[in-house]
């Protein structure tokens, strides 16, 4: 019988069962969503729930790191560190956040030993190609331009469940696929097209839609 030390109990699967705690359901995908906007958190949370994902939504990179047990003071196990072994299948984070940006969070996750294999997806309202490239190079699995739609999240779910396949691909192949995925968003049609056509965009928006990805996204939804 293990010692009654508080430090050891959350870590071993046999301890979890022994204490009568339910093991994490391996069928249910658990997503950690990070966004400082309350509106966006509510929307992304709902989108993921609609796709039967378990969601934990936090409002900052710091809170995300805390949850993952990756804050500096948590590197040494302590009584308060109950989150070692937290099962997270995907992390989706906003890019522009006060304090720690999504990019910085991405780097911290990829540097960790516990979560470096966990796919990280970046969301941003600005589709700046150098930013997208930088995130992909740092190991981001995908990049979603806001506002986030159901089709975006559906696409994420698809490759979350083929973890084994992803693991066999080389880093280069993965990046190639991700970039194609970004350009392919125009091929993913919405579940039902809007019955009302939207009015033409004012010219003030033209600089925003200059990037090819945004142009493709707009074309798709016309």
């Amino acid at each position: 019988m293990d010692s009654n030390s508080v430090v050891s109990w959350p870590r071993m699967p046999e301890n979890i069962n022994g204490f009568g705690l339910k093991q994490n359901q391996s069928e249910e995908v658990h997503v950690l969503a990070v966004d400082d906007s309350t509106v966006d958190r509510k929307v992304i949370e709902h989108l993921l729930k609609v796709l039967a994902c378990k969601v934990t939504a936090v409002d900052s990179g710091l809170r995300a790191l805390q949850l993952l047990g990756l804050l500096d003071e948590q590197k040494i196990p302590s009584e308060t560190n109950g989150f070692v072994g937290l099962k997270v299948d995907l992390i989706i984070t906003d890019y522009c956040m006060p304090g720690m940006t999504g990019y910085e969070l991405l780097k911290r996750i990829k540097e960790s030993s516990t979560f470096k294999e966990t796919p990280v997806v970046i969301m941003s309202s600005e589709n700046v190609l150098p930013r997208i490239d930088r995130c992909l190079e740092e190991g981001a699995e995908d990049f979603i331009v806001k506002p986030v739609k159901l089709s975006d999240v559906k696409r994420l779910k698809d490759y979350m469940t083929t973890k084994e396949v992803r693991g066999e691909l080389s880093q280069e192949e993965r990046e190639g696929i991700n970039k194609r995925k970004l350009l392919d968003t125009s091929d993913v049609s919405p579940s039902s097209p809007p019955s009302i056509s939207s009015s033409p965009l004012p010219s003030s928006l033209s600089s925003v839609i200059d990037s090819p990805i945004r142009r493709l996204k707009m074309t798709n939804t016309d």
Binding site: S37, T38, V39, D40, K42, V43, H46, L47, V50, C96, P98, S125, K146, P147, V148, K149, L150, P190, S191, S192, P194, I196, S197, S198, S199, P202, S204, L205, V208, T221
Partner: protein
């Protein structure tokens, strides 16, 4: 059984929605949110919209307070508020409000105080209009 009254109300709502789309007040992202609403989450859209109203009114108060300062010069802070406003407006499909925020943001980048004041007036007006229309929409439901 749905009576004639309910059918008329339904037609009214669709007409109002169609009008708002035609005017560019709302875009397809609003439809996207509506599609996410179902029996398990029957109030999803109004919940999101209420969060949006709450956040927006805070942002508008902050923007006005910043601009009314005697020794105003914090364009950067205004820009940060506007980034948030652009983001949340785009997330609920509030197209016209979003566009005014973008123009407002441009004025802050140019340190153009007069332009900012004009943009704030326009933003408050657009936001009020949107809020009234959305309240109408939810009442009909």
């Amino acid at each position: 059984m749905l009576g004639l009254g309910a059918d008329l109300l339904w037609a009214d709502m669709n007409r109002l929605l169609a009008f708002l789309f035609h005017q560019g007040v709302l875009d397809e992202q609003f439809l996207q949110l509506q599609q996410l609403q179902d029996e398990t989450s029957p109030n999803f859209v109004s919940e999101v919209v209420n969060i949006y109203f709450h956040e927006s009114e805070k942002l508008l108060r902050n923007l006005r307070a910043l601009l009314m300062e005697k020794e105003f010069s914090d364009y950067k802070k205004m820009g940060i508020h506007l980034n948030q406003f652009v983001g949340s407006s785009s997330s609920i499909g509030a197209k016209r409000v979003r566009n005014v925020c973008v123009a407002f943001r441009a004025a802050t980048e140019q340190n153009n105080r007069a332009g900012c004041l004009r943009a704030l007036e326009m933003l408050e007006h657009e936001y009020c209009y949107l809020k009234n229309k959305l309240h109408e929409l939810f009442q009909v439901k």
